[in-house]
């Protein structure tokens, strides 16, 4: 492998890892606070992509130059699309929590896990029923981004799209870090993670914190969905399954409940997958990538930043 090829793949892996990291954060936060794997998370991501599709189509019709009522520059439209999609997707997450998980809060853990799987299937099939099996093409939010001259660095094509994706992902992760460590709500989430029997007795509202946790995780999934759809603009109702499962692997690899762990493990997973396909025949990519992860987990069964006796939410 030449140096150019190596660095090109580092750039590729950063983009691919961003999606895993953003989605893995949702799994890890929910587990950290509620000790629950939200298996509907991959499908919340998929619903986010569809929400993004409609938000983007609507905003382009309203604000794009030449057609809209008010003309906004395309970067402003992009920011609005990401924010609106995050906002709307967070409601999907809260609805899942309210309808699917809250009634089962004191039921066995397995029941809640199965509920998540079922909600996922309900999402997939309702999207299929509403929009048909026809693939949808995500609209181009930044026209000319792909055809503009791309920044290159010694033969490595970095591309504006990759800079945008990795940049937005990092900004969102820093915001999350700030929220959890510096705000009252973040503190309440961390407190709940300690003991969700005793902390509500201190006047912290359990249901509201649970809803908030789901809202934050889903908003990140919504942002990931918009970025993902910009890079891979073909939407289908099953697009969340594989990505969701792999991000779940990243959440475990990072250590349950660890925000830093989920983010780093997401990027690590991206690197392992890309380099497995580069070094070995690409046919064996997932076989090799996930064998490596299995080996890591054998030596660190609680994940990279996991702790032995607890999975509470931490930075």
């Amino acid at each position: 492998m030449s140096a150019t090829e190596f660095f090109q793949n580092v750039v590729n892996a950063l983009q691919w890892g961003s999606f895993y990291a953003l989605i893995a954060l949702g799994y890890s936060m929910v587990y950290g606070v509620l000790l629950l794997f939200n298996f509907a998370h991959g499908d919340i991501f998929m619903v986010g992509a569809y929400i993004g599709f409609f938000v983007a189509t609507a905003f382009l019709a309203l604000f794009a130059s030449g057609v809209g009522i008010i003309t906004l520059p395309s970067w402003a439209i992009l920011v609005l699309v990401i924010l609106a999609t995050m906002f709307l997707t967070s409601f999907v997450g809260m609805a899942v929590e309210r309808i699917g998980y809250r009634p089962l809060r004191h039921a066995p853990r397995a029941s809640a896990a199965i509920t998540g799987l079922m909600i996922g299937i309900i999402f997939e099939t309702s999207i299929l029923a509403m929009f048909g099996a026809q693939r949808m093409k995500f609209p181009e939010l930044l026209p000319g981004l792909a055809s503009a001259s791309q920044p290159t660095f010694g033969g490595v094509i970095i591309s504006w799209q990759k800079i945008l994706i990795v940049g937005v992902a990092l900004v969102l992760m820093l915001l999350l870090q700030w929220f959890v460590s510096n705000t009252k709500w973040g503190m309440a989430m961390r407190a709940m993670a300690f003991d969700f029997a005793a902390v509500p007795l201190m006047g912290v509202p359990l249901n509201r914190i649970a809803a908030l946790t789901f809202a934050l995780g889903s908003a990140l999934a919504g942002a990931a969905a918009v970025l993902y759809s910009m890079a891979y603009p073909v939407l289908d109702p099953y697009m969340g399954i594989t990505v969701g499962w792999k991000a779940f692997v990243a959440a475990i690899l990072g250590g349950r409940g660890s925000i830093k762990g989920a983010a780093l493990a997401g990027f690590l997973l991206g690197f392992i997958e890309i380099f497995a396909a580069t070094v070995f025949p690409s046919t064996y990519r997932d076989l090799i990538a996930y064998s490596i992860i299995l080996i890591i987990l054998v030596f660190r069964p609680h994940g990279m930043f996991g702790e032995e006796h607890t999975a509470r939410l931490r930075l």
């Binding site: 030449s2 150019t4 090829e5 090109q8 793949n9 590729n12 983009q15 691919w16 299929l128 048909g132 099996a133 026809q134 693939r135 093409k137 181009e140 792909a146 055809s147 791309q150 094509i157 591309s159 799209q161 890079a231 891979y232 603009p233 073909v234 289908d236 099953y238 697009m239 399954i241 594989t242 990505v243 997958e273 890309i274 380099f275 396909a277 580069t278 025949p281 690409s282 046919t283 990519r285 997932d286």
Partner: protein, 392 residues
């Protein structure tokens, strides 16, 4: 409690009504099964199949066999574009719906396993679109209407050599699907026959549902290949080609007949313009019966039919010819299936809207292929016709 019992009873009643409505048939009916991917990865293919079959039914609501008129009924089953579901759909069509003959499935991924079921249960099946040799190989009950991949692979290899002056080729294909895998291998073999061993400098793969191909494409870009061959379905092409362009691949990209969907340029957009692929027919500039079919389909459904629709139309007409050649319907389904199979095997030549076909002992047609260029408006434009030796 009473309320729940009531709800369950109402639901059961509704189900019973639904099932009763699905029945029908009878001795004066000929049932034709359609096994198509209505949902799943390639729904546009399923839609084209269904529309073409329904349009055919309009023309042939009744078939006259041996002086007696029979009502024709289509039984359409969805195979979700999955191999298991296609085999299951065939079993259901054969054992439960008792169809006389099956048209479909379309892609080789489904047609190879489903063909096995049809052959084992002794029911004639004709796949309109499957190009992998395994579909009909050693299966006397299975037929098809398109050309085969051992023909398509060399056609493309020769085209790229002559047209682009390419010497080294790269291939990216889905290793988990029969059609791309088979075609990738035929292409590689043909290419190495022309340019010598090792001239396919990158032979990269992925698995179905993958969306990121950056690692494989980076390898391909650095391999020094002159042309990239992508034997993939249109939904994957729309992901791969833009990524390749973004990673700086500015050399020609070549595709196969699975590219030929009206959806391709809608999903892929500008990055796909200027690429070439081989297919069965071209709508633009068609003449005669082919044009008639295209105009009618477009007026009825609002878009130009894909190759799948045209091939399905041909398959339906081959079925019609076989049933009429058979000469009589006895009502004994096993005997009738045997009779239709024998009649179908006896068709030596057929003039379809996708060209003239002559069938060999294996039940495979020998016919010409067309190379299409995607022009700058995103339309499929006739570029060149390539025929097997000794055929025009």
């Amino acid at each position: 409690m009473l309320k729940r019992v009531l709800v369950v009873m109402v639901l059961l009643g509704a189900l019973a009504l639904l099932l009763a409505a699905c029945g029908g048939g009878g001795p004066d009916t000929i049932k034709i099964g359609i096994n198509a991917p209505l949902t799943g990865d390639i729904p546009k293919v399923g839609e084209g199949t269904k529309y073409a079959a329904e349009m055919w039914l309009e023309d042939n609501p009744e078939l006259e066999v041996g002086g007696k008129k029979y009502k024709v009924e289509l039984v359409i089953e969805d195979n979700e574009s999955k191999a298991e579901s296609a085999a299951k759909a065939n079993t259901k069509l054969i054992t439960q719906d008792e169809v006389l003959v099956i048209v479909g499935p379309q892609s080789s991924k489904q047609a190879v396993p489903a063909g096995g079921v049809a052959n084992d249960l002794k029911t004639p099946m004709i796949s309109p679109w499957s190009t992998n040799p395994k579909t009909t190989k050693d299966r006397p009950w299975v037929f098809r209407t398109p050309f085969l991949d051992p023909f398509q692979g060399p056609v493309l290899a020769k085209f790229a050599t002559e047209e682009f002056g390419a010497e080294k080729a790269a291939v990216l294909y889905d290793v988990a699907s029969d059609y791309p895998k088979g075609l990738a291998e035929y292409f590689k073999k043909a290419w190495e026959e022309i340019h010598g061993p090792g001239s396919v400098v990158a032979f990269e793969s992925f698995t179905t549902k993958d969306t990121d191909f950056s690692a494989q494409l980076t390898k391909i870009k650095n391999s020094g290949a002159d042309v990239l061959f992508l034997p993939q379905y249109y939904n994957e092409v729309a992901l791969i080609v833009p990524q390749a362009r973004q990673l700086g691949w500015d050399k020609p990209i070549l595709g196969s007949d699975s590219w030929g969907s009206a959806e391709l340029t809608k999903l892929c957009g500008e990055p796909c313009y200027g690429s070439f692929f081989s297919t069965h027919y071209v709508a633009k500039g068609a003449k005669g019966a082919t044009k008639e079919f295209i105009d009618r389909y477009q007026a009825k459904y609002g878009y130009v039919p894909d190759d799948v629709a045209a091939l399905t139309w041909d398959a339906m007409n081959i079925v019609k010819k076989a049933i009429q050649d058979c000469g009589k319907i006895t009502g004994d389904i096993e005997k009738d299936r045997q009779c239709v199979r024998d009649a179908m095997a006896n068709i030596k030549e057929f003039e379809g809207i996708t060209g003239k076909m002559s069938f060999n002992e294996q039940g495979d047609p020998i016919k010409c292929a067309v190379i299409v260029r995607i022009n700058d408006q995103g339309e499929f434009e006739f570029y060149k016709q390539v025929c097997p030796e000794g055929m025009q």
